[in-house]
Symmetry: D2
Subunit: 339 residues, 4 copies
């Protein structure tokens, strides 16, 4: 049994990781750290019942490392980069759900996150953990930079057309909509039930969201050309789920069926990416609490426009599910285990 | 035009008061105090648009008094009792939405609220502002203790049967359910959207809620006998609305129709209390954003049991609407003005 | 007092009209028709209480006309074109909330709505009731074609830039999101609570929605050039509200502040259109239950891209509120009356 | 591998059964019947993905029987009693989720359900499938009458006190609250999103719900005395979950701790019943999507009152999860398999 630890167990991603790993036949959770008063995990998460005989408490990275083979960091950015090096030096594998190792260019990271990167030396070897694009690299990785939720939904939606150089690179529009859990568990007035469940739907951080440099980096790699997307996130009054509606200008006249074929071909063998039939559009409710990414398309050849719609669960394929998928690949487990 | 002020303008009750008073043809809001950075009211509440040309800021009770004839205190308990005397000494009328002047017995207040009462001298003259029971007193009052939301829903539901001595006084059960706005606007993890919109329905403070002594006091007065209710509040995953299901043991064999007649008679001429027809049950959606209290009944004579169900909007008839109704009575306005 | 009737009183738009007209000081509702069993309006809508002493029943257009000066048709398309001529011949004014008189080109109407137009002769004189664009025509109109909810949100968002010829006309993208009431009151499995309140957010009818020809027609008039928008509607798990995120390619280098100035200038004096300050974005919760349209903008000059975001209540500015606004203009009432 | 079939696959209970059985290591779904047009199960339920290679269609009971060892009937009452005999005669085991075999007294069934019972001969041998009370009988059963959702929540909450004769039997009050999925998947206006997500919380069928005779029957058996409960159901604006607040008059002075000990003792070894610690109250969110029943208590000895609060997921412990638990017992599987 692989011994796994989670740092940041009290957030939504941490909770979802516990849920997933408890269903995994080949791993055992042996350490749960969180910046909270020491408590029984079954007190913190009543749903976990007696399945897990552990305390959650404010443990050092070093102590977590001693009890585990692999550690998930479900932490805010900045905190992860303090802990990851400690664990890596202990010879542990690290799957980091923060942004700290996603951006290859230190300067870009420091500009968007407005802090100094403490261990830029690790950036080169960190693997961007989007298995559908980097499975081979994930396999041998020691440090996984698990993708952000929005980037997962956008990159999977754009990859086939960009890789095939069938879309223009200078006017990509990503109109994304996310459930509220994407904003985390820290209390704030704006996230209260009574502020959101009053017919509140709203855009925020228009072309200003920290997930943008990550999207730009990956789309540029795919296209072999510098891409700066337009990324417009919105908050949906629901717990979880992301739907991204992506507008791409086509460089070649193809129709919906042809486009779908390209996508099906690109994602052939990918269990977690489901390219929907013509006429079927994604719905977040079909992917919540699963690791699937559903992709639907409508192409308008006369307008050279492709509308790609992707749906994921922001806490699963957009965070903890993908992290577990990465672990499965790293350790040669069935990629679907626990998911 | 009557000049009115609101202290506590940044909470839900304060916001609702502004909404109501702006529709009132005979009043003018002239002061809005809140413990926030000075801001334009139209910034704080975009819905208020250009209707109100005022700043909201941290103003002293004295300064509020100088600009107004009557002041609503939409404040937490303890704060109100600091401000009310200042305003009363200035000769202003005060409508207090906190609990500070509701409990006639200082010792009971101090036990339940766990603080010393700073101005018990005002308790005697403060009028419990439930117009359907105390309209005459309200008319001449300087200080209104505006009832709590739960008490309003329970007292209106019990009054006719208790007043007529047709219900036993020793085993009243009030199973109440409230929308989340009843918990106020202060951020906390338990009140986040992502903690409630996940199929969360739950009881809390079973026979331990601070609205109990207020209910006991008023029901005892009605019955002419000491009553200690059983009060079991629950949190409903919706923004607003309270539904109380009240179980009363009857001392006399009557059926549903007879019981409804008693209620209709008791509330004859009361615009804001609607006794529903036999077969019709209240639904919070029929009263939200209104000052109505809907009352439905089912009586089971063979079991000597009456089930009384009442529905109100906790922020309107349960707080700000009732406060405005009291103001209307105090100043001889049409009781429905603004409502 | 102006005597008004509503046909289609049992739908959401009809209900909202009653709510608005009851607050209107210069009108009296004298006829309520609906395809339902005869019932008291206070039974159908408990919130309306004793305010309206009327029956709702299946009344003919002729009979409604006899009791009224002006009639609102809150009906499905096809039904309106049967009733409007009857009323107009009686000399009544008609404000039609269906699509039947919105599309000037009969052939376009017949293609999108898949039925024959029964009275194309009325199309020419019907006025498209968007007061911010056609106030003068509304004033003298006998037949108002009240705009659709989505078109209102899109047209108001595009008008200033198109009118000034500052946006390209061939690649407009309208990514719109609507609350569920837009789908009406007819029961269907897809609209059940248990199908939507399960984290369901989804696109539908991509470039295939019947509101498109209406948008195209009005934007083309504004731009003086043929426009075919891309219109991608989505369903949001909330009761009401529409937010449209509109992407326009600019033909001139301007920044956000300059763009906002253009919008403020264009909508100067328009009470119901609020152009938000730089940095403030619209939120549907700020407009629900009001007739406001909030417009926020972000312009990216280096990308020649303008992102315009508009928020309305689909049942108010997107339907019944706008209809009442049109009535106010037609009869010389204060344009804000009832709203 | 045990071959299982589901009749009524297109309802919520049927869907939940598929979800559970797909996770079960020892069963294989071999037939899915529903009154719908033939369709792929992965089309009907996109979440089921490629996990199940089956068509769903309108199959006869006989045909379902031919393909299976055990059949779940997730059907409305009346339909089940037509199908069960067919299957039983084929030698199949039947787990019926309808009410048709729950009421031992044919006359009581016929009175409450207003139809003739077609096969009363089966009533005697049908086992009421509440494993915590009837595990031994379940083991040998051919026909399981799977309990209703409300009855499960009420009976588990009352059993220990009644069995020990520590509660009075003549004034039990069950104030129950259910999520909307309890009302099934058949479209109706009252169940539309736009009718419920508008702050709607309401009681219905006060002492008139068809789950009452089932509750009475089982509580009477437990108490060894005829019991007629008061059962007051309410609809909560959430998808799933039931919370029952039960009021019992005690015949013996005990406190909360003693009462909890009695419950812990009664449910010792029962994995799916969790008696909460003193001070902890149940919340439906802790049990949704699980087969747990959480029980919390507060006892007021001076009032001889016990308040028992139970929470279950109406579709899991209240329907399909309990059905699977029964199957596990019948076939000697681990009782937690699939759950």
């Amino acid at each position: 049994m692989l011994k796994v630890g989670i740092m940041g167990s009290s957030g939504y991603a941490g909770e979802e990781l516990i849920r997933i790993l408890l269903k995994h036949p080949e791993v055992k959770i042996t350490a749960l750290a969180a910046k909270i008063e020491k408590t029984r995990v079954s007190k913190l998460y009543p749903w976990s019942n007696a399945m897990l005989d552990l305390d959650v408490y404010d443990m050092s990275a070093e102590d977590v490392g001693k009890k585990t083979d692999v550690v998930f960091l479900a932490l805010p950015h900045k905190v992860s980069m303090d802990f990851a090096p400690v664990l890596l030096k202990q010879g542990k594998k690290v799957i980091d759900l923060s942004a700290d190792f996603r951006i290859k260019d230190k300067a870009v990271y420091e500009k968007w996150y407005e802090i100094k990167h403490e261990c830029p030396g690790y950036l080169k070897n960190a693997v961007y953990g989007l298995p559908e694009l980097y499975r081979k690299d994930v396999k041998g990785a020691d440090l996984i930079a698990n993708p952000g939720c929005y980037p997962t939904s956008v990159i999977l939606g754009c990859a086939p057309l960009l890789k095939k150089k069938m879309a223009e690179t200078d006017c990509i529009i990503c109109d994304s909509k996310s459930g509220v859990s994407g904003a985390g568990r820290t209390p704030s007035q704006a996230l209260m039930f009574t502020e959101i469940a009053v017919n509140s739907f709203r855009p925020y951080k228009v072309n200003f969201h920290r997930h943008m440099p990550e999207i730009d980096q990956e789309l540029s790699i795919l296209a072999g050309a510098k891409i700066e997307v337009n990324f417009i996130p919105h908050l949906v009054p629901m717990e979880r789920g992301i739907l991204s509606t992506i507008y791409l200008k086509l460089t070649k006249k193809i129709n919906t069926k042809e486009a779908l074929e390209i996508y099906k071909d690109f994602y052939k063998g990918e269990y977690f990416v489901r390219v929907l039939e013509d006429g079927i559009l994604p719905d977040t409710k079909n992917v919540v609490r699963s690791n699937f990414c559903d992709i639907g398309m409508k192409v308008f050849p006369e307008k050279s426009l492709a509308v790609v719609m992707t749906a994921i669960d922001n806490l699963v394929k957009g965070a903890s599910g993908q992290a577990a998928q990465n672990m499965n690949i790293m350790y040669g487990f069935d990629e679907k285990s626990g998911l």
